[in-house]
């Protein structure tokens, strides 16, 4: 009996692993929907709006990918994942792609058998505290109670940061943004730490956002990006170049509004990107208008950024590192040729 339970669990994993083998593109096409793992609720990145429709920066990438692969941006099934379940969900084949502000690290890429297909947001870990606390620097947090999302790189960075600075802290592990909100707003933790973009997004949803400040220290590099399973290069290419298409579109001035007009452009790279010339899409098993569809879904990278997390939105994030390389940012898409 006990043995049975153990081996039953084995069997479950084995079957799940079986489903995760190569051929994701065929699976998605056969299914007719893209299964996309997103944050269970982080305003600006992935959260259902008042009518229950998923909206956000990561969600927009999923829609663009669905549009590129299936020709319809609405054919996405969103699976909310926690920090703990996200990679298991991906590796087991429950989702096709994970777009959930996940940090690209060596062990995740190599040991966890994941493929990060790009960086859609260059971030860093920060701290948020209540103004009443009178703290102006993260180095003053000795002895503080810190809320932290469990199973994240931030958890390890936090341990390193306090250790290097010879400080102590009391961690309060939490699993979701909703839990963090309850604990942090209730004063059960002095500081809340996660990626600076996540802090800004979370703060935008608080009753009195002006009462909370994000401390100036950024204690880590957090390149966030979409992830696919290791070993399916075709699918990884599709994911990577769909993202690159959105970035290139911004660089080339192709927007959702002028998309059809741009088809008549004389710029050969725009013509190749939009499938007017050459047949880039065919090379990885898609239609030639894949990038056209992807851009049509939510606009280019800049438009998505502005609509979800950019200045003027509740998150109010500046482009900063996430600007085009031509503007001093880090976004640099390889050429479409």
């Amino acid at each position: 009996m006990h043995k049975g339970i153990l081996l039953g669990a084995f069997a479950g994993m084995a079957l799940a692993a079986g489903a995760a083998s190569a051929g994701t593109l065929d699976d998605v096409k056969a299914r007719g929907t893209l299964k996309c793992g997103v944050n269970a609720g982080l305003a600006g990145f992935a959260a259902p709006d008042a009518s229950g429709r998923w909206e956000g920066f990561d969600v927009a990438y999923c829609r663009a990918l669905a549009a590129a692969v299936l020709g319809d941006a609405e054919k996405v099934e969103f699976t909310p994942t926690t920090t703990e379940t996200r990679f298991t969900a991906l590796v087991s084949g429950e989702i096709d792609v994970l777009a959930r502000n996940s940090t690209w690290t060596f062990t995740r890429d190599v040991d966890l058998k994941l493929d990060f297909i790009g960086v859609n947001y260059y971030d860093g870990q920060g701290f948020m505290v209540s103004k009443d606390l009178g703290v102006t620097s993260a180095k003053e947090l000795d002895g503080a109670t810190v809320c932290i999302q469990t199973g994240t790189t931030t958890e390890l960075n936090l341990a390193d940061f306090f250790k290097t600075n010879g400080m102590t802290y009391q961690p309060v592990p939490i699993q979701t943004e909703a839990e963090a909100r309850q604990q942090f707003l209730g004063g059960a933790c002095d500081a809340y730490t996660t990626d600076a973009s996540g802090l800004a997004a979370a703060r935008s949803g608080y009753p009195n956002p002006e009462n909370y400040i994000i401390l100036p220290e950024i204690i880590s590099k957090e390149p966030l990006g979409p992830v696919v399973r290791h070993g399916d290069n075709q699918w990884a290419d599709i994911g990577r170049w769909t993202f690159n298409a959105l970035v290139s579109a911004e660089e080339l001035g192709v927007t959702k509004a002028n998309l059809d007009e741009m088809k008549g452009s004389q710029n050969p790279e725009i013509r190749r990107l939009l499938g007017v010339e050459g047949s880039l899409g065919k090379m990885f098993g898609l239609n030639d208008d894949w990038a056209y569809n992807a851009i049509k879904a939510g606009g280019n990278y800049g438009e998505i950024f502005a609509a979800t997390i950019g200045e003027g939105t509740p998150s109010n994030l500046a482009r900063g590192l996430n600007g085009q390389w031509t503007d001093g940012g880090l976004l640099y898409s390889p050429p479409f040729r």
């Binding site: 994993m13 084995a14 692993a17 995760a20 002895g143 390890l156 009391q170 699993q175 059960a188």
Partner: protein, 404 residues
């Protein structure tokens, strides 16, 4: 005269494997065995093949690697430089802690409420019924979350204790602070000479035990009783207190409000409190029903006979009814203890660092060793459950009716 009938053994035919009852059961067993082995063999080979396809290996080397994360409650020395194996051990100790605390509290609550449900006082009996039905019929996960929310929202943050117009104050003469982060309590500090106190304390326990034997023998011989409880209590507590007062070995460190938190003294994390009491209240409701059933299983004549002998109601319960009821109560109680222990794996919802949260949560997530971590965790819960049921079965055998 009768002709001798030649009894010749019927030659063995293959069909006899199915139609002959002498062979049939063996045939079926062999088929079942082969089918089972094939099934498990297929599962294992399929797992290995799929792991290989994913490029994953199966090894436990990660347990030796540096964990790199901090744990909010570690009863054994642990820093983020310790290994993943050590982190798993911290989680195991935390699981055991909450399981033991929960089992003890649940038993106390269960016995109390189970007896109260049978009270002749209408109000008391109804209140006990309301408790049992409310806690038994709502999932334990919700109770854990509810308790956590209550602690977070009801109790003040440490900042509320600060300043001249503080909105909260420490309790018990300024030694205990109950906040929405947990309870800060005084903690003993063992100074020089604490060994003397410890030795006196152990001797006191021994003398209390000896006194109990003496009192019992005296009661058997003369029929006269002594107030054993109070004398024992005095025997255990007073000598140690007197010695400690003389030597001044053990002092208490009282928590003090510092920059962010209370520091010094002991700290009981709210996640432990929420998990502990939710599990105890939930399982206590089941135990109450078991206790009530056990008591009702004892024939009414027993209590009537005891009453006829002039025994007081409280003693009828403790000397006549409960010892007999225990025989009925223990076996289902075992499964409640097992349930409580296993339910403690819900700890992660309140961020309590049990084995599911360390080994099966952070370690699994940071190393990506799902299969290995799952196997280790299942092995641990299996082992602990078997250990609990063994201990309880031994105890059950000792209280069971001795039949000769």
């Amino acid at each position: 005269m009768t002709m001798p009938v030649a009894v010749t053994a019927e030659p063995f035919r293959l069909s006899m494997l199915i139609y002959d009852t002498r062979y049939r059961s063996i045939t079926i067993q062999i088929i079942a065995l082969v089918a089972t082995l094939t099934f498990f063999g297929w599962i294992v080979s399929n797992t290995l093949a799929n792991l290989a396809a994913l490029g994953k290996t199966f090894d436990f080397g990660f347990l030796q690697q540096r964990a790199g994360y901090d744990i909010n409650q570690a009863l054994i020395p642990y820093t983020n430089d310790s290994t993943h194996g050590r982190a798993a051990l911290v989680g195991i100790v935390n699981t055991l802690l909450v399981a033991v605390l929960g089992c003890i509290t649940a038993t106390i609550i269960g016995v109390l409420v189970g007896v109260l449900r049978l009270s002749s006082n209408w109000l008391v009996a109804r209140l006990a019924t309301v408790y049992v039905e409310t806690f038994r019929n709502v999932p334990v996960l919700l109770w854990i979350l509810a308790l956590m929310a209550v602690i977070t929202d009801l109790f003040p943050a440490p900042a509320a204790f600060r300043g001249d117009n503080a909105t909260a104050a420490m309790m018990a003469n300024g030694t205990v602070a109950i906040t929405n982060r947990g309870a800060y309590i005084p903690w003993p500090v063992f100074g020089t000479g604490w060994q003397a106190v410890a030795i006196v304390f152990l001797l006191s326990i021994a003398s209390a035990w000896a006194f109990g034997r003496y009192a019992h023998a005296r009661q058997v011989a003369t029929g006269r009783t002594l107030p054993t409880f109070w004398i024992k209590l005095a025997l255990i507590v007073l000598p140690a207190l007197i010695v400690d007062w003389l030597v001044g070995a053990i002092s208490f460190q009282v928590p003090e409000l510092k920059r962010f938190n209370f520091e010094g003294g002991g700290f009981i994390d709210k996640s432990l409190i929420a998990l502990w009491f939710a599990l105890a209240l939930y399982t206590g409701a089941f135990i109450a029903e078991i206790v009530r059933g056990g008591i009702q299983a004892i024939a009414r004549g027993q209590s009537e006979a005891a009453a006829a002998l002039g025994i007081r109601p409280g003693r009828i319960m403790s000397l006549v009814i409960l010892p007999q009821a225990l025989r009925v109560i223990i076996p289902p109680l075992i499964s409640q203890f097992l349930n409580l222990t296993k339910n403690s794996s819900l700890a992660i919802v309140v961020g309590y660092a049990d084995v599911r949260a360390t080994l099966g949560g952070i370690t699994m997530n940071q190393t990506g060793r799902e299969l290995e971590c799952m196997i280790l965790m299942m092995g641990f819960y299996l082992l602990i459950s078997l250990a609990i049921s063994t201990v309880m079965n031994v105890y059950n055998a000792s209280v069971a009716m001795k039949e000769r």
